[in-house]
């Protein structure tokens, strides 16, 4: 019996190791392959110019700027709304039917293909609200797309805050709002950061929801705020355009390398921030 059990244990452990090594190898191979194909085509010029027939340049500076614009605008709108909604659902709403319906809806929304958000964003923001193909339309569409993820991630974080903290603070005469500010939000900062990384990942990787909303623009901004109202492709959208033209894969891979680098930097930065938060407590 004991021997059998040990054999089984060994078998399970090997399985875990094999899957671990497999996943790690796949990840490293993909990154390596992308860099191998892409890095050689990246030059300083590639990073600081716009695509232009006249000048004969094929740079990606506008797309880098567009990507940053869309990330920042989307997060600025969606993070506060997401955090407030999660707090409301978790701390105020109780356990009635309406909340169950809202939770079910958020879960469903999180699983809808992004092209559907793109169509909705086109109909509602681009045409309906007359925002046109613009970075703003794109960011608003993505806001709707990532809100469910933010709400759910923050809600999970709030659920892990032990009830005895809430009780302890109430016993000292704290109001609910005060407890949220001083205990719940600080304790869920790692969760909030996770929500932000997940969102950045989705925004950076998104193409379907943006093509019909933010459009395909590739000119450099004419002004800091005007740019919000002009059309602009993100790196991924541009990559997609180059790739379906099928002429050469050099530029798509170059853009892909930059995307991989951005995602790595965002991930590492968030880990570092989360760690420094944890150290303080």
């Amino acid at each position: 019996m004991n021997k059998k059990f040990r054999l089984f244990d060994f078998f399970l452990k090997s399985l875990i190791w094999i899957s671990g090594i497999f996943i790690f190898t796949v990840l490293i191979s993909i990154i390596f392959f992308v860099f191998y194909k892409g890095l050689p085509s990246i030059s300083w010029n590639f990073l600081i110019t716009a695509p232009s027939e006249l000048d004969g340049t094929i740079g990606i500076l506008p797309m880098i700027i567009n990507t940053v614009y869309i990330i920042v605008i989307t997060l600025v709108i969606s993070t506060p709304i997401g955090i407030f909604s999660a707090i409301y659902l978790n701390e105020y709403a109780g356990k009635n039917k309406l909340v169950k319906i809202i939770e079910f809806t958020t879960e469903t929304l999180a699983g809808i293909p992004s092209i559907i958000y793109g169509l909705f964003g086109f109909a509602f923001f681009v045409v309906g609200l007359k925002l046109g193909y613009s970075i703003l339309s794109g960011a608003l569409t993505l806001t709707i797309m990532i809100l469910p993820t933010i709400i759910r991630t923050v809600q999970e974080a709030l659920k892990t805050v032990p009830n005895m903290y809430r009780e302890g603070a109430l016993g000292l005469g704290a109001t609910k709002l005060h407890i949220i500010r001083t205990i719940l939000v600080p304790s869920s900062i790692p969760g909030i950061l996770t929500a932000i990384i997940l969102s950045i990942g989705r925004i950076v990787g998104e193409s379907a929801a943006l093509i019909f909303t933010a459009g395909l623009g590739y000119s450099l901004p004419s002004g800091f705020f005007e740019h919000v109202k002009s059309t602009g492709a993100t790196l991924t959208v541009q990559l997609y355009q180059y790739a379906i033209r099928g002429e050469s894969l050099e530029i798509p891979f170059a853009i892909a390398s930059i995307l991989v680098i951005i995602v790595l930097i965002v991930n590492i930065a968030t880990k570092v921030i989360a760690k420094s938060f944890n150290k303080e407590r």
Partner: protein, 253 residues
Amino acid sequence: MKMNNFKMQSKNLHLHYGENHVLKGINLGVRPNEITALIGPSGCGKSTFLKTLNRMNDLIDNVKIEGEVYFDDINIYDSKVDVYLLRKRVGMVFQKPNPFPMSIYDNICYGPKLHGVVKSKFDEIVEKSLKGAALWEETKDRLKKSALSLSGGQQQRLCIARALAINPEVLLMDEPTSALDPISTIKIEDLMSDLRKKYTVVIVTHNMQQAARISDRTAFFLMGDMVEFDETEKIFSMPKDKKTEDYITGRFG
């Protein structure tokens, strides 16, 4: 200008959790500067009663409370009462130590900050509260360390210090030593006799010896009724009710 010589008093207090009739008309008076112990078998309503004294039950769904609870001569269930101020004046220490995930210093200052005490007083309050909870010597060099790095017994004393920091008049303690080792327990019991000088204490305990050692009066609860309430000495030497006698001699519960 008090109506009587009770610090807190419940009058014909009934409490229902949904269909469950948990407190069945409790009349109990807590005298100032005394330690009142609540004993009784599990599930008889001790914690529930304790929580009615600072309205910590209000938050539970489906709870129905009838009767009156007086704090000095204010009926605390009156709609005009400021619950948050009440909880500042009637502090609570819970069964499981529950320090907040912040430094020892910030834990103590949480209440004072909340109630608008000026920052310049904090150092003094921290020292005074920690001394009051017999924790100062162990923590004075690590006040900025996380409270979660303390041992269970230290954490519970920190929670007592945190409650003392807002100068409550009454301190409610729900089995404060049940999660602690004998040495920490003795430290907290020693502390209690000091606390009595400045505060009025109501403590729930499952430990008969503890009730006998530290309390002035003891109330015996059974299935939502208060069977007997008297001076601790009398309860433990010559209980009037057969059920009390059976319980304290360990014949049931």
